[in-house]
Amino acid sequence: MTMEDKHAQTYLEEARELLAELEEAVLELENNMSDMELVNRIFRAMHTIKGSGAMFGFDAVAGFTHHVETVLDQVRNGVIPVTNDLAGLILAARDEISSMLFGASEADSAGREEIIAALRSLLPGEKNEGGVAGAETKEAVPDSGAEVQPVSSRGMRATYRIRFIPGSDTLRYGNDPIALLNEMDNLGELRVTALADRIPCLEEINYDDCYLGWDMTLISEADINAIRDVFIFVEDSSEVAIEKIANETTIGDAVTEKVGEILVARGDVPAEAVERAAKDQKKIGEILIEAGTVSKEKVNSALVEQHIIRQQAERHSATSIRVAAEKLDQLINIVGELVTTQAQLTQAAGSNGNSELLTAVEGIERLTGELRDCVLGVRMLPIGSTFAKFKRLVRDLSAGLGKEVDFITEGDETELDKTVIEKIGDPLVHLIRNSLDHGIETPEKRETSGKPRRGIIRLTAAHAGGEVIIAVEDDGKGLDTEAIVRKAMEKGLIDDAKSLSDSQIFNLIFQPGFSTAEVVTDVSGRGVGMDVVRREIEALRGSFDIQSKKGKGTTVTVRLPLTLAIIDGLLVESGRERFVIPLHHVQECVELTGRDINNTHGRHVMNVRDRLVPYVRLSEFFVTSDREALSIEQVIVVQAEDFTTGLVVDRIVGEKQAVIKPLGKMFRQADGVSGATILGDGTVALILDVPQITRCAQREEAA
């Protein structure tokens, strides 16, 4: 038996008893018509039969009993007199209830209707209504008024302003304001400010009065009714004001509200008072002039500049539009799919051969390319705003370090993908800090070395090929290769430095924990920075390079891809595998013949227009199987990080726009591969990480 059945069972037993009591009481009443206590007993019995009946599924009984209860209530109030007819009616009702609960069938609705009609005719004002068969279950299931609503509509997040000032007797009713604050907290993000202005001094405090109130801001997906429900038990005796300030789309406008405006909106301060206060308020310029800190002319000229800048901003914002980042991401995804599908289309049209089709497909190819570039361009932002933030950083830092530095930026208008801009900030800050701390010398030292007193840190950005090149250049004391080598040997990173080029020595500083700074300053020197910088830049598919001359200065050059989503590449085949080589690395394509191999006596280098270029066979690098020996192999000469390498493949298929699909977690560590793309025929081609392969090749060649 389920619990519900058990409750129902208990109810039936209870009802049986009540019906028996009822009968007794009514019979007694007939002899003592003025005994109100009997009427009460009868009322209570009916009330319980109805109330509990509705609880446990006996809706028909509950509905029917309701009519009896209504009449009995009026009898209690003295409105309806106790008569023999009434008693008879109640007994008839009792029998009806009994047969509904315990009788053979519930089907005797005719008799029920009569009783109901008779009952209703007793009620004041209903004397003339006859035989209206109200739906019996109409009143049987009222909804529970104190039904605590769960968060009803999961919608947009909105920001609400709530003021809750409990009545002073709230605690005496057993309501706990803290419980209500906790309930609010469960609806979303809640910030609470207590309003303590009504707390009297100690002698006057009545310990069971509530003197506190709270102003709250709630950010929640719940709708306003769910929030109102929290206060359902206290709203009659407390001040509860709930207002939606903004939702996700309008929050941008709400952010400009000044404190005065918020106070007026809350009704705490009349609007005129705020206006008056604002007029009385002295402007900062006036205060400074009065204090003699600055001249009137200088303030005026600063105001002119402010005006001009505001004008510019307005002009700019009038022709620009804010777009949610998610919408752009979606657009790029779709364009990406479009590019892939268009590739399939091109391939299919090629094999189909229909000339009309081919023409149309070429048109689509062109348009898709344009669309792709356009969409990617939408996400591009000039790096100038990031550079501007650094100006302040340099000023504060150099002041703190006692150094005098000019900070110059070039290429502010260079555009990068929004995500790249967001993520490049931190690494650049670190590089600038390094320059300031370890690069630029103190003014005195510079003078003794014959350098100008003021140091220069130059930050430049430019497009080159399919990349953005950002350089941090300083004219400080440069990297000390000897110190680095010494430190590296100390740390056991290398055994000797004889065969290391300068570039390789510089790369040592990227090892975690490496720092040649004698003193760890607040700014840098802890040795945790450079390897993090490298990781962050590599995470953006970027690379970097350090050039430095002792005594002269250091330049760190960072190369970043223009976009992280789509890449122009060269599709090649090696064995059964296909690879995509990012086009911006490709310099030229040459052939490798048996003769070239023989000429170099087993070393993997070849002569390309009088340059010695090391090469890597992709089939060897990736250990692909099923290679047929070819007499002539294709070599794609690529350049990365100032190193030139040849990638040897079997066949060059052609140029391809590849939508980059990231590799799964398992494969991200794989050397030489930075992603994958789906070709027109549905197969997968791996996208080569040219810098990585190049580095490997250089290492091997050096060995």
Partner: protein, 121 residues
């Protein structure tokens, strides 16, 4: 420590349902059949919350609520009245007597638990 809730109702089936539902949820439950029974059981005991019907013999819900609020150790506990939809005036009376809130009959076990969670910290 588990909280103790008293349920006062003259209907055995309601008492049973309330008791079962609350015990299932981890509360201790004391049952009373009417207001007088409730006050007797409260003598010397401490409960954390009271759920009471309004219509009971011997001492009804209003009387019980007043009595409980008069006990110093129960001055601030949450008291929930069980009302029916036709009892608006009684509801107001209960509130004046010191009830914290109400649940309308008929109610489901979930609704009962939601209100308990709301008022009992």
């Amino acid at each position: 420590m588990a909280k103790t809730i008293m349920t006062a109702d003259d209907s055995a089936s309601v008492r049973q349902m309330v008791s079962f539902t609350l015990k299932q949820a981890g509360y201790e439950v004391i049952e009373a059949a009417d207001g007088k029974d409730a006050l007797t059981k409260l003598n010397g005991a401490q409960i954390d919350m009271l759920i009471t019907d309004l219509n009971m013999p011997n001492l009804d819900g209003i009387g019980l609520i007043k009595g409980v609020r008069g006990m110093p150790n129960h001055k601030f506990i949450p008291i929930i009245m069980l009302t029916t939809e036709s009892q608006e005036s009684k509801k107001a009376e209960g509130r004046t007597a010191g009830a914290s809130g109400w649940i309308v009959k008929p109610f489901k076990p979930d609704q009962l638990l939601a209100v308990v969670k709301k008022v009992l910290r």
